[in-house]
Subunit: 504 residues, 2 copies
């Protein structure tokens, strides 16, 4: 157990009962048994438990046979996914990950992975479709006098994990300052048919409580730690990312010119990663003002937009700045407290609110086809990369859904624009704007053939344009003409890559 | 112009100004010019204008060059799609059709067809993405003293067409009894960012007005007609449909047994057509009671459920009984007035309400693959059948999404369960239950490989089971093991059918 000074701990554990539940990570890990379903806090390596999972992994490494089904909000840190995977302790994993060690095991068929729309994972749990949670391990800032848990830097599925759990283990993280308290807005939904409207009409609206309901009867142990989140490094925006960002901004400019968007645009959602981060950096120098975000993760660029006053407010379920930016953010938590609202992912990603607010959803693709179908999960149709995450929640109910990808991958050997994607996560019906460093294609209101011409002309890399146009023209000669295809050639680009290492 | 008696007309045209706008269909059709965008009322051949489109088609057949973009709610009758297509007058069509004549032209590449989620077509229009409506032609029961239009048997996109139109032509249909007045509940959404919650917490909630706002300034002509809607005949439930229905009810029984559904289930949505109709007939003799519907179309079976008291209320955007059932319904309109609510399709199909109510969405597939991806639009990947309609609106935000299809087509030569679908409309992430006459596969919470085994075992036709399992097992030996595929074989079943007329 960490040694927080007793004074500091009293701010965190606000009753004697909480103090009486203090245990070491090793003691707490004993509550987890073979065959259990464990729910952990965490969303984009942020706000996830660390000490207890490490102690659990140690038991596995020491020869105990423990296999668990592991549920999270979204991606968590290596203390969970790497350690538990290497110790051979994960049987089934859902709903999202970004970890290379578990990715490898999933693609070797050693771990069953259920890739879910993030807003749906809570529903599956609350509806009784998924296993009940035996133990929830949740990072907290503090435990209230009533045994409720104040969350740290992500909410994710934690409120529902706690609600559905037999036992709850709380990891109080002294590295996360108490000044974060009040940023969370916890409101969870009843099951239908008893639901009322979610009363969010603007990204900044608060509708809930600053803590997650739990109660002492459920808390099996409280562990104190000061381990830091291993958030992701963000690479500096490269030329390609900058061009993608420029093209998205060109699209916005056209929308403003046509009177379809105003100077504040509409609430923005932006996916995770370096390209997504670069896109938002592009907005720092733009003409837009009073921007708002209704999104699932806040990265460095969004914090900068809030700092500069360019953006007014961000609703999210996780804060996931790069390690340096995280330190700075934690120091400035007080400044951000009225500018950031942390919500459960069933609210941050809820189609009701996304549709109502008219969110502009910006997500990344692995590949797109000439008809505007997007693959965001599977490399060459079979290999799971990370998962669909919230991209479907947002893009499907968005006012404008934008997908971006560099036009090539693997040093130019893979075209990200193909005749037919090898897996579909976002269909032609909801992919509205496709963007590469080459340009953007506004697909709204177009027929499939109109889309094909625009995508090939505006988005494909010059090295592949001719081949793509040749496919399209030949398809137009041999198949029905709504969505022309040559079925025994449609996936041949992928097959060629698998066989030769190049689509060229 | 039809000769309604003056007394009857006075009940329909409730001001002198309305009478002054009376024109013949031929006169009204003159408002439509080459290059215009025309919006027509109608959803599942119901409540669509007939006299003016026929008069317009006549102009085309007489040699006038008129090409229009034609927008509707969903499918409309042959007086529009057949006649205008045969007269060569449609350039672009959206968002849905079910007409064989226009289908043929679409697949020959002579008409551009934009296949949209039905709830999105209104947004595209209101956001200014689609052309402005030059002329809206709308069937009405009556024109109020203020020039507002009381709709007949469907609402669809009409309120937004009227709002966005330069000119409106009203077809008053004397065949539709005034006793229908009051069934409609017209509420349309502002554009974001100014939207409020849609205050529907139960399928029967009324939130709007009984008429569509228009005003006399927009009305260019009022035409009186008594032409009947050419609604679709429904074939008698056959053995296959009955077995599919039985399997869906078995699934419901299991959900009730597990405590995941109660005796009233949850609000039901059901797609259009004979199989969908048969599924609901299965509920007539079931244990369930106080059923409710939150759906886009009411067919014969739903009327029977309401008549018998088995169902309490149906929210819909269209009434589309078969011709005989329609006559009976119109005679009994008074009985149904407090049991049926007709809403605009942006409300009937709105993800906000669908998610809140926890709708059980039941839609049909053309084919599904072993991983649970569903194709509901394209035959052999290229040929457009009808369109995605509302199936995506409902299934994507539903509490439970069910897709059904007979396990084979073309006399057993096509397997509806294939290694990889030739087009994806509903992805593995949101297809929860797959049903054929062979059985059902509950896919919730399963990994792709678990889904494959269950779908092949429970849903595939015995003639194709071995082939499917062979594909799956061989794929497991050669590709990454998250979603095993052999890409150069994945679509070979379709290619074989195209080449030989059989997948066997």
């Amino acid at each position: 157990m960490m040694n927080g000074s007793n004074t500091e701990l009293k701010d965190r554990l606000r009753s004697d009962r909480a103090f009486s539940l203090l245990r070491s990570a090793e003691e707490a890990a004993q509550f987890i048994q073979d065959g259990m379903t464990v729910g952990v806090s965490g969303f984009t390596p942020s706000g996830y438990p660390k000490a207890v999972p490490l102690a659990l992994a140690e038991r596995g490494r020491c020869g105990e046979t423990i296999k668990i089904d592991l549920y999270s909000g979204a991606s968590v840190g290596p203390e969970i996914d790497t350690e538990l995977t290497e110790a051979g302790m994960i049987k089934k994993r859902l709903p999202y990950h970004t970890n290379s060690v578990i990715r490898d095991k999933i693609n070797r068929g050693e771990i069953d992975y259920v890739d879910l729309h993030l807003s749906q994972s809570t529903q599956y749990l609350n509806y009784g479709v998924l296993n009940k949670i035996d133990v929830a391990i949740v990072e907290g800032l503090a435990v209230t006098g009533e045994g409720h848990i104040v969350p740290t830097t992500s909410i994710g599925n934690s409120p529902s994990f706690i609600k559905n759990a037999d036992k709850v283990i709380v990891e109080i993280n002294l590295d996360k300052p108490l000044s974060l308290e009040g940023m969370a807005d916890i409101f969870i939904l009843d099951n239908p048919p008893c639901r009322k409207p979610i009363n969010i009409c603007s990204p900044g609206d608060r509708i809930g409580k600053p803590y997650m309901e739990c109660g002492f009867d459920k808390i099996a142990a409280i562990v104190v730690t000061d381990m830091k989140d291993q958030t992701r490094f963000l690479s500096k925006p490269d030329e390609i990312s900058k061009k993608i960002s420029d093209n998205i901004i060109k699209f916005f400019e056209k929308e403003v010119e046509y009177g379809r968007l105003g100077k504040s645009l509409l609430p923005l959602q932006s996916g995770v990663g370096s390209v997504a981060n670069a896109v938002l950096y592009g907005l720092c120098d733009s003409q837009y003002e009073d921007l708002t975000f209704y999104t699932e993760v806040v990265q460095d660029s969004m914090l900068d937009l809030l700092r500069s006053g360019k953006a007014a407010v961000a609703s999210t379920t996780a804060l996931s700045p790069s390690p340096d930016a995280l330190e700075r953010f934690l120091d400035e938590a007080e400044f951000f407290k009225d500018k950031i609202i942390l919500r459960p992912q069933e609210i941050s990603n809820n189609p009701e609110v996304i549709r109502r607010l008219g969110v502009i959803a910006m997500n990344t693709a692995i590949e797109a086809d000439i008809y505007g179908n997007v693959n965001s999960t599977h490399v060459m149709g079979s290999k799971m990369m990370n998962g669909i995450g919230g991209s479907g929640d947002f893009s499907r109910s968005a006012a404008i859904s934008i997908f971006s990808t560099p036009s090539t991958a693997k040093g130019g050997k893979i075209s990200s624009i193909v005749p037919m994607v090898s897996h579909v996560d976002h269909t032609e019906h909801e992919v509205m704007v496709l963007v590469t460093e080459q340009g953007y294609a506004d697909l709204r209101g177009l027929s499939p053939k109109e889309k094909a011409v625009k995508i090939i002309e505006n988005c494909a890399h010059p090295d592949f344009k001719e081949q793509l146009m040749s496919y399209f023209e030949r398809a137009c000669r041999v198949s029905a003409l709504h969505t022309p295809h040559i079925l025994n050639e449609a996936l041949s680009w992928h097959s060629k890559y698998i066989d030769t290492g190049s689509m060229l």
